[in-house]
Amino acid sequence: MADIIQVKNVSKSYWRDSIETSVLHDISLDIKEGEFMALMGPSGSGKTTLLNLISGIDKPTRGEIIINGTDISRLNESSLAKWRSNNIGFVFQFYNLIPVLTAFENVELPILLTKLSKAERKQHVETALNIVGLNDRMDHYPKQLSGGQEQRVAIARAIVTDPVILVADEPTGDLDRNSAGEILILMERLNQEFNKTILMVTHDPHAASKAHVIRHLEKGDLIQETV
């Protein structure tokens, strides 16, 4: 299988009041298409930063990131935005649903950026909600849903554009054991049935155990380890 994500000698630093803080040191990483990778590490290790760089919402200070043949570290802001909407699906720890939109409308958001007609969009949304098992809650607002249900809507939103890569930052971090379990089963399914490449940042060893590959980050350095 081909490498769909290639991280080449990437470093990231922040400047605060002229003090440079280095968060990632010379990271190189390859992820194959269809792989399910977990990123673990203590807080401050830089795992979320690496996730942000790969998903294009931040830029590396040094190095390249090539995804599906495109070097995204070279793209400008608006190209990146476009690229993101086509290629990446996000799942956040705190779901980040828009509170004033219904479940349906939340899932519809990413495809509003495309040229699909209203009927086509409806089809995509319903398919996505079907996959996550929330068809009967389409018209509910986030505050009418449980934590687990909210996260499922968020996942539906992440897959509605049928992106090749799913990026998840502590997806079960705010859920109870049962809901967490359901979400992980869903993610497994997305990986195995739909061949989505998944990169997941997590604290939870149980969640990590679902992945093919676990990598550890410590103070900005990648440590070799495989399952």
């Binding site: 942000n52 998903s55 919402i57 931040d58 802001e77 608006s78 935005a81 476009k82 993101r84 909407s85 086509n86 996000f90 956040f92 705190f94 980040n96 828009i98 509170p99 004033v100 939109l101 409308e105 958001l109 990413p110 509003l112 950026l113 939103r157």
Partner: protein, 389 residues
Amino acid sequence: MKIPLKYILRNFMARKLTTFITIAGIALVVFVFTAVLMMAFGIQKTLVSTGSADNVMITRKAANAEISSIIGPDIQNVIRTLPHIAKEPDGNLVISDEPVVIVNLEKQGGGVSNITVRGVSPEINQLRPQVKIIQGRMFTWGLRELIVGDAIVKRFPGAQLGSYIKFAGGNWKIVGIFTTNGSGFDSEIWGDALQLLSAFNRGSTVSTVTLKLDNPENYDAFKKAFNLDLRLQQYEPIIEQKYFAQQSEMLSTFIRVLGIFITIIFSLGATIGATITMYSAVANRTVEIGTLRSLGFNRRSILSAFLLESLFITLAGGVIGIFLASFLQFFSISTLNFSSFSELAFSFALSPAIIVSSLVFAIIMGFVGGFLPSVRAARMNIVTALRAG
């Protein structure tokens, strides 16, 4: 602009209390702005409709108002020799020699006010055909009788049909009420010029002379002949309508200047209110903004979304303000006209131009108030925004 309208509208409804308060503030400001413009327009409208474009009024040059103008009998005769004065079928010139004085009457609710009393000549019907008697009758020539404008009847208990007004050593009976449909004449009292002159011991000296042109196009020719006559050096002609329009300038300008000055100051306050509300909205939705950006919505669509929200708020406030102000049209105000020194009644008048100005005003407030917060929302760094949750 790709962010759905319903996102904007529903956020607009979400923080109901603070949104409502901001809208109320904007509505108040627009109300005042519109009311002031309506007041000034009302004054102008009243005075501009006073008098017509084919009448010429002659006053003394140095006079600031009709009451301080003096035209003696010999000058009145000279005026009669000028060309282009309209004639009645029986050959009489359509000309009115008018003494104008002020009397004090008690207002409804206390206090006294100055009312213009105008003596008119029999040609008045030709001269001012807009005058209609709506109650009672026209006064009888040669008797001490008066007719009053309908704006006076409403405000002065002593000036009702059948009342007597005491002045100049006699009792004058009010026998009729007239209207000119909202012009300045509605705030006046009229009587027989000759009767008033004798009562005030003024001989034949009047305040102003008003005549009708045989054809409005001949005004320039008339004026030329007027200026050529050296006996008329101290006097000047002016189109009747223009004279009264000028009389409204001081008052309406004062109101407009003061009103606009105040409103601009207010609008700064209201705009700041809108800005605060928008900044707060942006701050509260930081995570959301980050999420939308991560989904692929670009900076410009975020900017537009928040700017539109701001515009909705101020537009809503603006519409409410204008709506409330439109009810003012049912009210009329009576006040002292600085120029004539006597009572003038006028209503608040609304015009399409005023509505447009007020809406534009509201939109500008929304744009200015919402701009900086919207820029802040658009410029947010995605990572920091997402972390704010």
